[in-house]
Symmetry: C2
Subunit: 222 residues, 2 copies
DNA sequence: GTATGTGAAGACTTTCACAGCG
DNA sequence: CGCTGTGAAAGTCTTCACATAC
């Protein structure tokens, strides 16, 4: 639901890897790191598939786009495959992220300590509510959005999170693009209107709920 | 990534609608309600497609699974199409939801006032941390998970949200199933192992970030 | 024996393009 | 004339099944 690339014909040997394949790699990585933390040295496409509820063929096919990471008869070395996936996804480093919106959700995100060891660090929190500007969240001070361009520039930040109400999200998104942000994770419940070279992903729990209810037996209040 | 239905051949006239179609309906609904709130009375598949960044043909094809909602030459009545989508998704009512986890994220979810007018109400918050049990979030008192079965039963709740750390998520999920929950929205960063008749959706911002970085120019810290 | 990597087959999804209706 | 609803075509994704390698 958010896929675009301009350069198609540039290099015929590197034909575009489907976005749907890319979207599964972080899930593979998350599970491999769990296996690694449990002391597993080796795994197989079958074991991984069972943990994820997908077919082993899919995992093998997905990985085959990037190289040959396994050994026939043996499977995959867990730590090695982790490193390879981290390299493919470019998360073998820490990416700075700016966060706009210091409400409850912004607080939750800014305080979450699960980002760093998966490749991300929130380097700035911004909000225009004067009662929030100047307050501290952990070791970060909330600043007005007028301070965004300088912060994005200084940290060479390419990723932003929008955690403001829907009515101000489009304006915030435009400020972010203006400041140089290339990818946005949007928690506001709307579809942003953005230039095609900006990647946007959305998180809206109600979308997930409304997907679920289609399959449930109706038995709700009212 | 979470699709299963047992009954296939039951009624040949109602052939299974693809899950990928269902997953787009809530997004259509969200946008239609925005148009409605802006006073639009009529829209077209083309206008909707432009707002959503998808093709008009896709929207028409998706809707055609459920009936003929538009008028040729005119388009769709916004309010009418909203009501139809709400009926299809079964969100023309309010579904009770229980929330497990009263950390920052749990607070953000329990305090969010955007659920009700989209069909959901958090009716209980549960946590086993004794420093949290008994505290109030808005007008809800945090209870221990031992109180889950009674609450799920009393409210006839089918939907739960997991907002606990990864290490306790699987155990919580099992308690939820035991209590009678049929669908789970999981914010913990792992894949749950669940029986096939339980629908699970996942929200993990790091998965979204790691998807983005594949397409970004590497220019991160380290 | 066991598990990968991979063409080919099969299944699914999107787009095309136009008849038909308001 | 404009826009829907829809078969048919095109395109994409997943699964199969097996040669190959350990």
């Amino acid at each position: 639901m958010a896929t675009q690339r301009a350069d198609h014909q540039q290099n015929p040997t590197v034909d575009e890897i489907p976005d749907i394949v890319i979207s599964r790699l972080p899930v593979y990585l998350r599970t491999l790191r769990l296996l690694d933390s449990q002391g597993a040295e080796v795994t197989s496409s079958q074991e991984l598939g069972e943990l994820l509820g997908i077919s082993s063929a899919q995992i093998r096919k997905d990985l085959s786009h990037f190289g040959e990471f396994g050994k026939q008869g043996t499977g995959y070395n867990v730590a090695f495959l982790c490193r390879q996936l981290e390299k493919i996804l470019k998360v073998d480093c820490v990416w700075p992220v700016v966060l706009v919106g210091a409400g409850y959700l912004g607080h939750a995100l800014a305080s979450y300590n699960g980002f760093l060891n998966r490749g991300f660090r929130i380097v700035g929190v911004f909000d225009n509510d004067p009662t929030k500007v100047g307050t501290q969240i952990g070791d970060i001070e909330v600043k007005p959005t007028s301070a965004l361009p300088e912060a994005v520039d200084r940290t060479r930040c390419q990723i932003a999170v929008i955690a403001v109400p829907a009515h101000s999200a489009q304006a915030v998104a435009e400020e972010l693009i203006e400041a140089g942000i290339r990818s946005i994770l949007c928690y506001a419940p709307l579809t942003l209107n953005m230039p095609p070279d900006v990647r946007v992903e959305y998180i809206d729990p109600v979308i997930s709920f409304q997907h679920m209810t289609y399959y449930l037996d109706k038995g709700c209040i009212d």
